[in-house]
């Protein structure tokens, strides 16, 4: 579960706030899309939720643990590891194989034994259809494969919530359905998912609930079928 309450984010260089009292809640295991045009504030919102960006007002609560704006930079650490991110640019670790991309954090942060971490990562990659690619370096994978490695890498830390920043934007449109299927696979494991997108069709086909973000504020929300562009 993730709950966002009256979140405000200002950039010094920007006159208007990038996020204006954003509030919403996503129940555990739900798959929600955040729909918005370029510049609406999607990435900013996700960066706040994942603890990369400080926010000026409001609260982010993940499964009972709350981070308030007043908590400062240290407070954000609570979110690291609890909320996973699949960045738009993926940012796979280029010097590590697909498998090592997924075992690095569990081993270093959680102190997992290599064998255990590898067994778990291997299962994750397998579930995402990457059995054969475990030993490959990111450089040698296709765009869709890379994205699934980035998802597996985030899932390896067993986050409560997983955020995706525009997962379809860098892919061939024909892969849109594949991404949707991947999200459903992840959903089976019970992880709460929040997907930012400007792709109307994708939001409607993949998500159970849609939030529409405009100028840093949520202007509408509802079931995919009810939301009209």
């Amino acid at each position: 579960m993730i709950r966002v309450d009256a979140l405000v984010k200002r950039y010094a260089s920007l006159a208007a706030p990038a996020l204006r009292r954003v509030s919403f809640e996503v129940a555990s295991g739900q798959l929600v899309a955040i729909l918005g045009r370029s510049g609406a504030g999607k990435s900013t919102l996700l960066r706040c939720l994942v603890g990369l960006e400080r926010f000026d007002e409001g609260t982010v609560e993940v499964d009972g643990v709350a981070v308030r704006a007043e908590d400062g930079p240290r407070g954000l650490r609570v979110l690291h590891g609890r909320v996973g991110l699949v960045p738009q640019s993926l940012d796979l670790f280029p010097h590590l194989s697909a498998l090592d991309n997924c075992t690095l954090a569990p081993r270093i942060v959680k102190g997992e034994r290599r064998a255990d971490a590898e067994a778990r990562a291997s299962r994750l990659l397998g579930r995402l259809g990457l059995e054969a690619e475990q030993g490959a370096y990111p450089e040698h994978l296709s765009g869709g494969q890379r994205q699934r490695v980035a998802i597996a890498r985030a899932l390896a830390m067993e986050p409560r919530v997983l955020l995706y920043d525009e997962p379809t934007s860098s892919l061939d449109p024909s892969l849109r359905e594949e991404v949707g299927r991947t999200l459903l696979t992840v959903k089976e494991s019970g992880v709460t998912q929040l997907v930012s997108t400007h792709d109307w069709e994708f939001a409607r086909s993949a998500a159970e609930w849609v939030l529409v973000l405009e100028g840093g504020a949520i202007v509408r929300e509802g079931e995919p079928g009810q939301i009209v562009g």
Binding site: G51, G81, F93, P94, S97, L104, A105, V109, Y137
Partner: protein, 519 residues
């Protein structure tokens, strides 16, 4: 510990070091006592100065020979000690003496008033005329003091000859030793004349048929042994030894053997002027060894093999210095780069300041400051430590910039993702950012190791006889610059090529993820 108390502790430490016996070893007649206690007289000289002073036997360069070697032995024996030579650049001998690197300096040190401010001088042990050499058959050659006005004339820096020439209005070209080079330049027309002490002219000009030495003396120079200020007891003991050597005729015999017994020295020692030159066996041996370049066969089969031990030892020193300095440069460079990229503003400025200061000043200046400047603050470093510090800190600035370039080449997203996965900043640096940065930094680092290998030649300033110094000494003693130059080049390649290969291996390993998977 706050900054102020740290500074105070540092100052107290420096003051304590300044008062330590090492810095003031010479005080209260201590050096004479020390020499007699350890039964060893350490005397400083520059082998690069060549024959007949102190040089490597051209037939077997593992031995030091020269009239001053024999003189030092004779003096030491009278002090109840054995003479042990110590290396140092000729124009730095008095600085090294003051620093305490050896007990006395004995290497054609000219008696001059201004030297008495920095050292004590013994009674002179040798006197010689200044000899002007010119190209044989050169119609325009300057043959008088009046004629050198406006002409290019070679001399040693800080010598009487230089002062005579400057007074006469000549354009003086100075060389730091390497008598052969001085006369080579004359032969090749780069200078019009050379003014040097009689023994040098005798040994280097007189063996070259293309050169001619103008009859007559252009001034008289006297050599004395230099001891540290405050070491009157040692100076007196050396004076006593010299008087006795003069009285018993040992000095004359020594000079005659080397073919440098002359009217000036005879007058100095109160002996009748020399009649006709007798047999100077040491000079004959020199002439036989180097008068005519030996055949290629003899060089390859006899002479070069005998340099092996000297070069091997020097190569060991060069390699050790290169590797340890690079290690220091990498460690300090990493700290500087980290401070510059991740530090708070004052730390960042400090790092930038250090980098710019070190990078913007010549290594030579830094070495002189470390070796000769720090003792003024009471910090007297061992030659190897001084060379290691100088090279290591100098290259640290370059390494810091390499690492910075590497760090900046890694996209910010890498660090951000690591953060979202729960890695601390240090963990992200170590496991995610550093490996990628290193790949970018390794090629310039490899370049730097090779550059460091070559720059390590500068540590001859701090009396370390590494490869280049070994080469220049040998070339001066054997009068063979080209052949030995190829030999020393081979030694440098022998050290450098494996280092370059190591760099390429590291590069390949760090870039493994960019290659197509092998079968």
């Amino acid at each position: 510990m706050n900054a102020r108390s740290a500074l105070r502790a540092l100052l107290v430490g420096v003051a304590a070091a300044a008062a330590s016996p090492a810095a003031a070893a010479g005080a209260r007649g201590g050096t004479l006592q020390a020499v007699q206690q350890r039964r060893e007289l350490r005397w400083g000289a520059d082998v690069f100065g060549g024959a007949p002073y102190v040089f490597q036997d051209p037939m077997d360069p593992n031995h030091l020979v020269g009239f001053e070697v024999e003189l030092a032995d004779a003096i030491a024996r009278r002090l109840g000690a054995k003479a042990r030579p110590a290396a140092g650049a000729w124009d730095k001998l008095l600085d090294l003496l003051a620093r305490g690197d050896f007990d006395v300096a004995l290497n054609g040190i000219e008696v001059a008033e201004e030297k008495r401010r920095v050292c004590l001088l013994s009674r002179p042990y040798y006197a010689a005329g200044e000899r002007l050499s010119v190209r044989r058959g050169d119609p325009g050659a300057p043959r008088t003091l009046e004629a050198v006005k406006g002409r290019r004339v070679g001399a040693l820096p800080g010598s009487l000859a230089q002062r005579i020439l400057e007074r006469a209005g000549a354009v003086v070209v100075t060389y730091d030793g390497g008598q052969d080079q001085i006369y080579d330049d004359l032969r090749l027309g780069r200078t019009d004349a050379v003014l040097l002490d009689d023994p040098i002219a005798h040994y280097y000009a007189d063996v070259q048929p293309e050169l001619e030495t103008v009859p007559g003396s252009f001034g008289e120079v006297r050599y004395a042994v230099a001891v540290r200020l405050g070491d009157e007891a040692l100076r007196d003991a050396i004076d006593g030894a010299l008087s006795e050597l003069a009285r018993t005729g040992r000095l004359r015999a020594l000079y005659q053997r080397w073919g440098i017994w002359n009217a000036e020295t005879a007058a100095l020692l109160g002996e009748p002027p020399p009649a006709r030159p007798g047999l100077a066996e040491a000079w004959e041996a020199w002439r036989a060894a180097v008068g005519r370049p030996p055949s290629l066969r003899e060089r390859l089969l006899v002479r070069y093999p005998r340099t092996f031990g000297l070069f091997a030892r020097a190569a060991g020193l060069t390699l050790l210095l290169t590797l340890s300095s690079m290690a220091l440069a990498m460690a300090v460079g990493a700290l500087l780069a980290a401070a510059r990229r991740y530090g708070a503003a004052p730390v960042r400025w400090l790092a930038v300041g250090v980098i710019e200061l070190v990078r913007g000043t010549p290594l030579l200046v830094q070495l002189i400051m470390i070796y000769f400047g720090l003792p003024e603050l009471g910090v007297k470093l061992d030659p190897f430590v001084a060379g290691w510090l100088g090279l290591g800190l100098n290259y640290a600035a370059a390494e810091a910039e390499n690492y910075r370039a590497g760090l900046e080449s890694v996209p910010v997203g890498q660090g951000e993702v690591a953060t979202t996965l729960g890695l601390s900043r240090l963990q992200a640096l170590r496991h995610v950012i550093a490996p990628q940065a290193l790949r970018i930094a390794v090629p310039p680092m490899t370049n730097d190791v090779i550059a460091l290998l070559k720059d390590s030649s500068l540590v001859s300033l701090v009396t370390l006889t590494e490869l280049t110094k070994t080469y220049s000494n040998l070339a001066a003693s054997m009068r063979d610059h080209l052949g030995l130059g190829l030999v020393v080049a081979a030694w440098y390649l022998l050290l450098g090529l494996p280092l370059a290969r190591l760099g390429r291996l590291a590069e390949r390993r760090l870039g493994r993820h960019l290659r197509r998977a092998a079968a």
